[in-house]
Symmetry: C2
Subunit: 297 residues, 2 copies
């Protein structure tokens, strides 16, 4: 399942509660578009801001509305016992994979991070995607640790958020990782503005916030790379550069939430407080490209 | 209450549950030593790793066993609704203050952090200590934001974890902050190895992990500064340099937990998984100074 487009939808909230209708609409849209997998409850899906019960409910809603498309959910939490509970609930809900970032309060050591993955993997009946995201966890995986964890039996994929910006250097990086990783491990790229480069450089899968809202446009980029037309992939992604600029400046979750609110896919405010969709100048920047965004699907 | 020594005890755990006997012993030791306040459920007290129910219970145990000494508890959580619940529980338990760091998953903006403090302050019947700890939150307060938040009516103190290392530069920094902060705000220093310097530079209070285990030795340092004997304070803190080295290298929570385990103040392992007390070389380094530590109290 760790290939092509893995689309990460928002989990729209209303005053801290899941807006189930809006969430189901987003899931249904992804299923209809035919994405390869749905990353419900990723960073974009605000997994870290939800209660254990809400996470169980969202996992179930996602699986029930995915029309057979594999669903992956984030299982990270500061409290280890919560990780295990969320994992059990997700597996009971019928997810096809789980994703784990080393969410923590105290900065963990490499040994502690390895112990986390090693222990969690004992409870898994589905494959795990290792999520390397220093921007949210504050933890930097070394290549050595990445490879050590990837050798645990349950690991199926690695989601990278760091990759060189040009295709030749990125290709070198992906090839090096592939040589050192077990053969069955899929390498995925997060950070939507790097996706065309990452896929062209040999990544198997694009873990995409953008694709959670505009799956068909994202699939166009994936299909272009898969058919060998890297120029077209770069052109399609390049056309989205004004959006990528906003992603980099304000965070993709805030921009995506603002688009969802503007287009009435979600009620405003849809993010967990104190996170906020765009306001002031930032919102104005988004409104300037609003008409272009309406052509995306 | 935000003056002198604020001692931050561990919350010893046994398999994810609070070891109440060990926790009460630590609190009682602080009360007997006559610390100025008890910072139960600080970073050292693993607040971020506990359930809402455990946090309510620990707050109650701390107040009940503090013999009238004011208790402060950490109220931070990724989920805003959890912050409010923990705050309500803590106030019902009779705490004298709360402490809030901008704990988050997505890196928050300045506006979001301000909105967090502004909204939480509406629910407070006790003063709040603003906790600036980029090492755990990943968020850096600018001076402008620090001052803006400090002007909210409920703020009583600011806990800094960053300060210049020499007394003259640190004094300059503390004076500058004091000029810009409301007059009623107490400035506190965290990071035990900086405490003698911070207090000598004009900080009102030492928020101390070390003091959570060795309150009398910590009070000696505070008393030396308060009686104007800065040389003695520096000498006392300097004698602890081998311990401060371990704090800086391995994190004060891991070192303190290891000492508590070595001295049978807590069962091993007492930290929330995957956090681990010291092992291997690190533990060996601690054992090398074990005899000196036995002279502390």
């Amino acid at each position: 399942m760790f290939e092509g487009l893995s689309a990460f939808p928002l989990t729209p909230l209303v005053q801290g509660e899941i807006d189930e209708k809006a969430f189901i609409s987003l899931i249904t849209n992804l299923a209809t578009a035919g994405v390869n997998s749905i990353g419900a409850l990723g960073s974009t899906g605000s997994y870290a801001y939800l209660t254990i019960e809400q996470r169980a409910r969202a996992a179930r809603l996602a699986v029930e509305n995915a029309d057979g498309i594999p669903v992956m959910v984030g299982i990270g939490a500061i409290r280890y016992e919560d990780v295990l509970q969320v994992t059990e609930d997700a597996q009971n809900a019928g997810v096809s994979a789980v994703m784990l970032a080393p969410v923590s309060y105290q900065k963990p050591t490499d040994e502690e991070v390895y112990a986390l993955y090693e222990n969690v993997s004992k409870y898994l009946s589905v494959p795990l995607c290792l999520y390397d995201n220093p921007a949210t966890t504050g933890f930097q995986f070394s290549d050595e640790l990445l490879i050590e964890v990837a050798n645990l039996p349950s690991i199926g994929s690695i989601k990278l958020t760091r990759l060189p910006e040009d295709i030749p250097t990125a290709t070198e990086r992906v090839s090096l990782l592939r040589q050192r990783l077990p053969v069955n491990i899929s390498i995925g790229i997060g950070g939507d503005w790097r996706a065309a480069t990452g896929l062209s450089a040999g990544c198997h899968v694009w873990y995409s916030t953008f694709g959670g809202l505009f799956p068909r446009t994202a699939l166009d980029i994936v299909n272009a790379v898969q058919s060998g037309d890297i120029k077209r992939a770069e052109m399609l992604s390049g056309a989205l550069e004004p959006l990528w600029q906003l992603f980099r400046a304000y965070g993709s979750i805030r921009v995506t939430a603002s688009i969802a609110e503007l287009f009435n896919y979600a009620k405003s405010p849809c993010l967990p407080f104190p996170l906020s969709s765009l306001t002031g100048d930032a919102l104005h920047h988004l409104e300037l490209i609003q008409e272009d965004l309406r052509n995306l699907q």
